[in-house]
């Protein structure tokens, strides 16, 4: 086995060489992850806002269930999506198994509870501050949710980031529903798992470094945005 420094040097070489295969894997990873996070935000933001801003029967039960689902095991989600999309499954006719779309579906299921649960907390805190003013102004339910989501926009960026972190690092579900097919469904995490098992540590390490770099860049951008928002007292 090569020394760590030799592997690291080769990994850096792969990155600097801008290898087309590596680029393809990165692009697909980001496409799948960002699509899943966008879908999860579209579902989770309004869902969390409604639960945060309104009182209804069984609300506590819904919150407990949602918080529990934040810890959904990815392989279980992968298995369920696999069963749904497989030829014998109810959605098999769609032919989505082993496609990036199936990976997006699995990741959306994993990320939505995280986005919804964190959104609920953010919105509930904000609603406690706004509720009397809203009642006084006569703000209706739809406007109430819309206003809360808008005013919590910078906090919700952090929520979306938490979802992104979960999705981009996920391997269990996407490998089951995507199949890790080269040039089709191979993403960074599944490639790292595969190449490590094959002993091709250079590529695995190169992708690992890129994954970390992406996380740092996203976090840095978010910090900058939140800093600007904090100066305007918007958070």
């Amino acid at each position: 086995m090569e020394s760590f420094s030799a592997i690291l040097t080769e990994a850096l070489g792969l990155i600097l060489a801008w290898d087309p295969d590596v680029i393809e894997i990165i692009v697909l990873s980001l496409r799948v992850t960002l699509s899943a996070v966008a879908a999860a935000c579209l579902i989770g933001f309004p869902l969390g806002a409604v639960i945060g801003a309104f009182r209804f029967p069984l609300r506590t039960g819904v919150i407990v269930a949602m918080n529990t689902m934040m810890g959904l095991p990815p392989v279980v989600v992968g298995l369920l999506v696999y069963l749904m999309l497989s030829a014998a499954g109810p959605l098999g006719v769609l032919g989505l198994l082993y496609t990036p779309t199936a990976m997006v579906v699995a990741q959306t299921i994993l990320v939505t509870p995280i986005v919804a649960a964190l959104t609920r907390q953010v919105i509930e805190d904000l609603y406690n501050e706004y509720s009397e003013q809203f009642t006084s102004l006569g703000v209706g339910p739809f406007d109430r949710v819309r206003a809360l989501l808008w005013d919590a926009r910078y906090s919700l960026l952090t929520v979306a980031l938490a979802g992104f972190g979960r999705a981009v690092a996920e391997v269990g579900a996407v490998i089951i529903v995507g199949g890790n097919i080269n040039h089709v469904t191979r993403v960074m995490t599944t490639t790292i798992a595969l190449e490590t098992s094959k002993g091709n540590l250079q590529l695995a390490l190169a992708l690992g470094m890129i994954l970390l770099t992406i996380a740092v860049i996203v976090n840095g951008l978010l910090m900058a945005i939140r800093g600007t928002a904090a100066r305007a007292a918007y958070v």
Binding site: E132, T135, S136, L137, G140, A232, Y234
Partner: protein, 264 residues
Amino acid sequence: MSEAVVNISERKRGPAARAGSATSAPLLKARGLCFDAGGHRLIDGIDLDIHPGRCTVIMGANGSGKSLLLRLLHGLLTPTAGEVLWQGQPLDATARQQQAMVFQRPVMLRRSVAANLRFALSVRGVRGSERKTREAETIALARLDALKDKPARVLSGGEQQRLAVARAMICTPRMLFLDEPTASLDPASTQAIEHMVQDARESGTTIIVVTHDAGQARRLGDDLIFLHGGRVAETGPVAEVLDHPSSEAAQAWLGGRLLVPSKP
């Protein structure tokens, strides 16, 4: 237990009486208003009539139920017993659209000054050119022109309260509730807020204001309700109550003595 009905426009005085009339039907009535919390009766059988165009001041020691009464009258809280009537009908969300309230600690949306005003208009369905016109007029009235694009939450306390009053007034409510609107503000900010309240008053808005400041009560009010232990201890024209309080509670409080409610 219910106090005698407090008809707060029955004894008018001087120029302040110009806007209201004892003969007009009450705009807002409270009958047998009670509110309990934590096993205690915090508001105890309050009856009152508020006539259009009047400015009513509510005073009393801390814990006497002033802010609570304001919230009950505005419908933010549901009374344990009794009722609030708006033009003779039970107060509901539709009636509340003719009212507005300014809180002691202004609630600023996380938006610009102008966007805070636009929000209130959009909630009431005011759109297009009318919205722009009203927004511009209100910003000018509140002297917030130079601040209109600033985030509302970075304004000073006085500026935020001016914006809160402006936001409350932009939908031209018939009744304005003010809960200690100038508490902790400097004299210049207090003066600016009082000017806005007087402008509202002159345009016919009925006002109910909670304050600890006897000077402010004299400057703004027609009538005064003095609360003690969740009950109306005394009521009448502002100057009369302040200069010649008849109740023991008002005499003690205005005389600077500590007013501790008797235990039930």
